[in-house]
Symmetry: C2
Subunit: 291 residues, 2 copies
C-alpha cells in the first residue's frame, strides 16, 4: 500500500522530516487518470531521488469557464494500482477545499508567456497552473520535480516561475510518450470516438513533416514549415478548429514563422499545434534544433 | 563582523545547510535605513530562533512610478554598525540585478485586499511586496519571519499569501515602535522638515482619540471615530492630503465606518490613516478590540 497524505499539513510534516534527513525527493504532480506518460515521469524521479512523491489533484483554477473540469477523467482505483506497481514512496491526495479554502485570493502570474498559444484560448489557465505548482512545491518541498514536454508551454511557464521566484527545486522536463501511431499520451484522449481517434495522429505527422523541412534545410523561412502543418491539419475530416500551428521561439514562445531559419542556426525552436477534434482539445509539439 | 551573503545562490546554500541541521531561522526583511523598529524585530527573532537573518534590499517593484525609490534613505555603514551591535547571524544583501534579472516576469497577486487603503494610492505596491517576500522566503528558507505592524496592510497581505500558498513559514507581527511623542518609527521620517516633524504626531493622536471612543463605548457607529480622526487631521497646518482615515475590518480591510460598533463586539478592528505632509507620505494604525 502506498502511503497516502490527504491534507497539506500532513504532507508538509512528512516533507520537512525527509528534508531534514537530507533525502532527495522527486515530485510528479498529476491530475490523475494516469497513463504511460506519467509513469515515465515516475521512473525518471526514482532514478535520481531517494524518495518519489506523486500528487493527484484535479486543479479547478487551471480550467477556464466552460471547460471540462467536471468531466475530466478520474480513475482513482486504476491510478492506485498503477502507483503501487510503479513503487512510489508517498501519494499526496488533497481535497479541493483544503487547497482552496474560502476566500482564496493569491495567484502567481507569469506575465507575457502565459497569454500566448494555449493561454490565448484558455483564460487564466497558466496562472492556475503556476499557482498550484507553487503550492505543491511549498507542501511537498521536493528537491526535484518532473513534468512532461507534451505540455511544452507549461514547462516554459514553470521554468520561468521557478527561476524568477528563486524556488529551490531542480526541474526535469521529460520526453513525450506516444501511442504506437504517434498520438501523444493524454488523459483527454479517452474523450475521442474511435473514428476521431484514427484521425488524431495527424498532429504528430504534421509536426514530423515540418520538423524534417527544418532539419534537412529544405526551407528559407519558418513560414514554410508552419504552412505545411496547417495544410495537413486542414486536410483532416475530424479537426473542427485549428487554434494554432506554427514555429515558436523555444523560450519566449514568440511566433517566428516570418523569420529566416538561418537566424536560429544551432538553436532549438518549438513546433506546436493545438486543435479541436469534435469538442476535444488536443495539443502536441516537437522541439527541433535548427541546423 | 556579520557574515554577509551577497547572492541568492550563496544565501540559499547557507539556508539549506542550516535547515538540514534542524536550526530554526528567523528572517527580518528590511529595506535598510534601520531604526529601533527594525531592531525590535531582530530582538523578537533572536528570542525564539537559533539563528537570525536580516535582509537589506530596497525593492524596486514595490515603488510606483513617481515614488521615492531613487531617494529612499540608504545608510549602509550605519546599518552595519547597528546589526553588529544587535548580534545577528547573517546579512542577506543582494543586488537588484540578482533579484530581478532581465526579463523578470513573475508576480504574486493577493487579489482584493491589495487594492484597498495604500493599494489604491500605490499601484502595484502590494504585488511588489508579496513577490519580493516570497523570493526572500525561498532564498532564506526561514522557519519564522518578522514584520512590523506599522505596515498593517502589508502584514495582512503577507499573512494571506503565506496561508493561500502553503508557505512553510511562521509569521510574527510586532508592535509599532514610536518616538517619544508618538510618531511611528519610519525610515521616511527623515524626509520631514523640523516644522513638519513637530506636526507629525497628530496621526497617532488622532488614532488614540478614536480608539478611546471605541474602547470606552462612546459611539454607536464607527463613523463617529472616523469623523473624529478626519477632523483632527484637517486641523493640521502641514497635512497637504488625507488619503484615508477610517475604521476597517482587520482581516478584509473593508471600510466599516457605516456599521454599528456593537456588530464587532469582542473583535479587533483597525483604525488606519495615510496622509501627506508636504511631499512625504506617512501612515499609521492602531488595532482596537471592540468591547
Amino acid at each position: 500500500m502506498v502511503e497516502s497524505l490527504k491534507t497539506p499539513d500532513a504532507m508538509q510534516q512528512w516533507s520537512q522530516k525527509k528534508y531534514k534527513m537530507g533525502k532527495t525527493v522527486g515530485l510528479v504532480p498529476t491530475m490523475g487518470a494516469l497513463h504511460r506518460g506519467h509513469i515515465s515521469l515516475i521512473e525518471a524521479s526514482k532514478q535520481e531521488n531517494d524518495l518519489t512523491v506523486v500528487s493527484i489533484f484535479v486543479n479547478p483554477t487551471q480550467f477556464s469557464a466552460g471547460e471540462d473540469f467536471e468531466k475530466y477523467p478520474r480513475d482513482f482505483a486504476g491510478d492506485c494500482k498503477k502507483l503501487e506497481q510503479a513503487g512510489i514512496d508517498a501519494l499526496f491526495l488533497p481535497k479541493t477545499s483544503d487547497m482552496y479554502s474560502e476566500g482564496f485570493a493569491t495567484y502567481i502570474e507569469v506575465r507575457g508567456i502565459s497569454n500566448r498559444l494555449c493561454g490565448a484560448y484558455r483564460a487564466g489557465h497558466f496562472t492556475g497552473v503556476a499557482t498550484i505548482v507553487a503550492k505543491l512545491f511549498n507542501t511537498v518541498m521536493p528537491t526535484h520535480a518532473y513534468f512532461g514536454l507534451k505540455d511544452y508551454q507549461q514547462c516554459v511557464v514553470i521554468r520561468k516561475m521557478v527561476s524568477d521566484l528563486n524556488i529551490p527545486v531542480t526541474l526535469r522536463f521529460c520526453d513525450t510518450v506516444r501511442e504506437h501511431d504517434g498520438l501523444a499520451m493524454s488523459s483527454r484522449n479517452t474523450y475521442l470516438t474511435s473514428e476521431q481517434r484514427l484521425d488524431a495522429p495527424i498532429l504528430y505527422k504534421a509536426l514530423c513533416k515540418a520538423s524534417l523541412l527544418i532539419s534537412e534545410r529544405r526551407l528559407v523561412k519558418f513560414r514554410e514549415a508552419a504552412s505545411l502543418m496547417q495544410q495537413l491539419l486542414k486536410s483532416s475530416a475530424h479537426i473542427s478548429e485549428i487554434q494554432y500551428g506554427s514555429v515558436y521561439d523555444s523560450e519566449t514562445l514568440d511566433d517566428i514563422s516570418e523569420q529566416d531559419a538561418s537566424s536560429y542556426s544551432g538553436k532549438p525552436v518549438a513546433l506546436a499545434i493545438a486543435v479541436k477534434i469534435g469538442s476535444t482539445r488536443l495539443i502536441d509539439n516537437l522541439i527541433v534544433t535548427v541546423p
